[in-house]
């Protein structure tokens, strides 16, 4: 491979990393209405070319919307602006993966973790029940909203949600959520 790279920066490195990981789309930055629309239509375009059935495409699309809503809710933390939110969609032979990332205050980690663990511990019927209950008790709070989102994503993806918190500083962490959708 012939490399004529100016020493400063490796855009190519980024590009190939994403290419080799079969990233369909990655966006890091702020999310506004227009960007969401753009990201959704890009996803649609990408999915059309994918060799999976309509059901899978629909799930990916819907879960992405859910993920985007979550990002929007949590993207403006005044005190922590060094980490933009992020959306990444990739695939492998068996799954499509949707990753969302956003900054979270450390005080919320426990609650978010327990919500996800709760959701992961339930089967299809259990999730259905939990969803109904959550809707009835619809608490109008940030975390309450996220709770409904997790249930919904777990129901649609039919796979456990994966997640990690990466510390940024003593008050904030970067929360990455991974939703796996089987390609059937």
């Amino acid at each position: 491979m012939n490399v004529l790279v100016k020493p400063s920066l490796n855009v190519f490195d980024l590009y190939t990393t994403m290419f080799s990981n079969r990233v369909l789309l990655i966006y890091q930055g702020l999310f506004d209405q227009q960007m969401i629309k753009t990201v959704l239509s890009m996803t649609e375009m990408k999915l059309v070319k994918e060799n999976v059935n309509e059901n899978v495409k629909k799930k990916v699309f819907n879960i992405m919307m859910e993920g985007l809503q979550n990002i929007c809710k949590h993207q403006f933390l005044k005190e922590e602006t060094s980490h933009n939110p992020m959306l990444l969609i990739s695939r492998d032979d068996n799954h499509h993966h949707i990753f969302t990332g956003n900054t979270i205050h450390n005080s919320k980690i426990e609650l978010v973790s327990s919500k996800i663990e709760q959701v992961n511990g339930l089967d299809k019927d259990g999730l259905k029940e939990l969803y109904k209950k959550a809707r009835l008790n619809s608490v109008i709070s940030e975390v309450g909203g996220a709770g409904l989102g997790f249930i919904d994503m777990a129901r649609k993806s039919e796979n456990p949600l994966e997640y990690r918190f990466f510390p940024i500083n003593e008050n904030y962490s970067f929360f990455i959520l991974q939703v796996k959708i089987s390609n059937q």
Binding site: V11, Y15, L25, D32, Q34, S82, F174
Partner: protein
């Protein structure tokens, strides 16, 4: 991919101070959205209007003229866009995979434009403008002259040959206050 590998990619972007990064299918709609998002981000960073205009011009011209080609493979149709801060400068990168023949032409044209002195650029631009006929892919040279004029910089690029058919080419400009 998992959360760790995702974080690694994310970190690469954050560490290199990229305030907006996007990889995907570029078309006119995406370009317009990107400009809006970038504008929002830059405004939030108190970037001067004249600087923003230079950045947008680079984005528009690269995306509409420099990185266009008849791409046969959809898999290779993704472009990457990055904008980051380095001290007082903003670095903007726009790149993608292109057929070698196209790349050769692009590099030759860039090198030609980069040899021109500031004072010659203006004349070259208008000379070219007069003879350009629209609709005949003639905009490449004009576009590059325009970028060079507006940014006041050489057009940098990153070039890597991938195989017999394609290369990765990324254009970069660095715009300072």
């Amino acid at each position: 991919m998992n959360t760790d590998s995702t974080k690694k990619i994310y970190d690469k972007m954050v560490n290199q101070k990229f305030v907006v990064s996007l990889m995907g299918n570029f078309d006119q709609d995406l370009l317009l959205s990107l400009i809006n998002i970038t504008e929002n981000k830059l405004s939030g960073m108190d970037v001067h209007d004249s600087l923003k205009r230079k950045i947008f011009h680079f984005m528009v011209e690269c995306s509409q003229n420099l990185l266009k080609s008849d791409k046969e493979s959809d898999v290779l149709s993704d472009n990457i866009f990055l904008i980051g801060q380095e001290g007082e400068s903003y670095n903007v990168h726009l790149g993608g995979i292109l057929p070698k023949a196209t790349v050769q032409n692009l590099i030759e044209t860039v090198e030609e434009v980069n040899t021109l002195k500031r004072s010659d650029l203006r004349k070259s631009y208008y000379d070219r403008l007069f003879v350009t006929k629209l609709g005949s892919d003639n905009l490449l040279l004009l576009s590059m002259l325009s970028i060079a004029r507006k940014t006041g910089q050489n057009i940098d690029y990153e070039l890597i040959e991938l195989d017999e058919v394609n290369s990765f080419l990324s254009f970069k400009t660095s715009i300072t206050h």
